[in-house]
């Protein structure tokens, strides 16, 4: 599935985050290969958001380091994209300008920016509403804009925090398939955080299971089913059961 398996894109070693004497992240270590799609699941309130905020450098880590291609990660040097749970679009820009915003900040020249925007909007099927404004489109459409914007900068690391948590199931299946096709075509490295175990098993090649607070990586499960995967296929159910047992808190 992922292309050159050997090259490690992201290396995190003993990433720690303390708020006063409360340890939220406790020496988290893992690696992600280039172009790999990894899902992160964990019990309720296991510091997933803090984990993402430290990874995306929105929040300084108390200790440990995050390396992208061997260097210390920084928003300016590297391309890090973060898709939040609630759709974040600039209300005063059209859909096209929203998708191009990431590249604009990165200072990518206008010609290439326009060409990349058109390509990705074609892929995602947003070309029809290119000139609409965010308040004229549905919430699920806004989330697709956010995902397209994230992919458009060709990120070294794409973080996604429960992007489809709020949508009804038919929409979620559709957008999950769309995400997988985008990922396969653009070969980005994706870290997908979700509490929905079924979604994690459906989307990811590898699942990292986080423990309760203080959070560390409890287990790692590889999911090598061919795509498109089906919820009812026994192997799928087996992996799903395995992950649920690791997390069961109710």
């Amino acid at each position: 599935m992922g292309n050159n398996e050997s090259h490690v894109k992201i290396r995190v070693n003993n990433l720690t985050k303390r708020f006063g004497d409360l340890t939220v992240l406790d020496k988290i270590c893992f690696e992600i290969k280039t172009g790999e799609l990894v899902a992160i699941v964990g019990p309720t309130g296991c510091g997933k958001t803090t984990f993402l905020n430290t990874l995306s450098k929105l929040m300084p880590a108390t200790d440990g380091d995050i390396l992208i291609d061997g260097e210390e990660a920084s928003p300016r040097k590297h391309n890090i994209s973060y898709v939040f749970q609630e759709p974040t679009c600039l209300p005063w820009r059209t859909v096209r300008e929203n998708v191009a915003y990431g590249m604009e900040v990165k200072g990518i020249p206008k010609k290439e920016r326009m060409e990349r925007t058109d390509r990705i909007m074609e892929l995602v099927g947003l070309s029809s509403c290119a000139n609409l404004y965010p308040n004229q489109v549905s919430a699920s459409m806004m989330q697709r804009i956010a995902v397209s914007r994230a992919f458009a900068v060709e990120p070294d690391l794409l973080l996604m925090d429960e992007p489809y948590g709020q949508l009804d199931v038919k929409l979620r299946y559709y957008l999950e398939d769309e995400l997988i096709s985008l990922w396969q075509k653009l070969k980005s490295t994706v870290l997908f955080v979700t509490h929905n175990i079924e979604e994690a098993v459906y989307v990811a090649e590898r699942i990292l299971v986080l423990s309760n607070k203080p959070t560390c990586v409890k287990a790692e499960i590889t999911v090598d089913l061919e795509r498109p995967r089906s919820f009812l296929d026994p192997q799928f159910m087996e992996i799903r059961h395995q992950v649920t047992e690791l997390i069961r808190w109710w």
Partner: protein
């Protein structure tokens, strides 16, 4: 509920009542003066105000200038002072909302000056600039600046935090976030300031003219008072009220077109 604009039929009396009450008010005003219950030296009836209005259009005395000159001076002062307060107040408020250093340096001074009623500056402006245009423009400028700074400051503060975080992960600098994110999302609040600042400027303009001026609608009111001509005083007040309403209406149209422009 997605259908808030549900049509509610307005019963007839709700349409008729407003016109009736205004007509009744004007008639009552006319009646109390004409019938002598209120001595005519204290208040002029609408009819007399109208005649003096027609007269003042052409004849400069008793206060030395025709109505158009008074109105023009007031509007001129208001326009310069108002636009200056927008030009200085809005960028200052926006910068204060985002950049810590600007807030640290400007906010204490702003908090010191803010509670001083603008017309308290009149004596100083008379000392510094005399009773001409500059003094009044200074007072109007100070009056208008306060709401501009406050609204712009609050506007930037209310930017959606996730938008800022999103921009940060793309590596946007503080300056990029400021002019690409904070300013556009603060615009509705900033436009809200246009109306409030206008009202403040207009109030303090009249105050300034009442106390130290040689032309202008405020001066017209004072002269009316000094010469014991209640009709001129009322004329002055009505003109101030109407021109205030017209300015408000203009600003409203400008605001609506600009707001539609940014698709909020």
């Amino acid at each position: 509920m997605a259908y808030e604009e549900i049509v509610v039929k307005k019963p007839l009396p709700l349409i008729a009542l407003p016109c009736l009450s205004v007509a009744a008010f004007l008639l009552f005003w006319e009646w109390i003066v004409v019938s002598g219950t209120v001595p005519s030296v204290l208040l002029a009836p609408p009819s007399q105000v109208f005649t003096v209005f027609m007269d003042k259009l052409g004849n400069p005395n008793p206060d030395g200038a025709i109505l158009a000159v008074h109105a023009w001076t007031s509007l001129q002062e208001a326009f310069i002072g108002y636009s200056l307060s927008l030009l200085v107040g809005i960028p200052l408020g926006l910068a204060m909302g985002w950049f810590r250093i600007v807030e640290g340096l400007i906010r204490p001074i702003f908090e010191l000056i803010r509670p001083i009623p603008p017309i308290a500056w009149i004596p100083l402006t008379v000392f510094w600039f005399g009773i001409g245009l500059t003094g009044k423009v200074f007072i109007i400028w100070i009056a208008g600046i306060v709401p501009c700074v406050i609204n712009s400051y609050v506007g930037v503060r209310m930017t959606q935090p996730t938008l800022i975080q999103m921009a940060r992960t793309y590596g946007a600098t503080d300056w990029q976030i400021f002019h690409q994110l904070c300013i556009p999302s603060a615009l509705p609040m900033v436009f809200g300031a246009l109306q409030i600042a206008l009202a403040y400027c207009w109030t303090n303009l009249v105050g300034a003219e009442l106390l130290a001026s040689d032309t202008g609608l405020g001066y017209l009111i004072t002269m009316g008072g000094r010469l014991g001509r209640p009709d001129i005083v009322v004329l002055g007040m009505v003109c101030v009220g109407i021109s205030g309403a017209i300015l408000g209406f203009i600003i409203d149209c400008v605001e609506r077109r600009l707001l539609a422009g940014i698709r909020r």
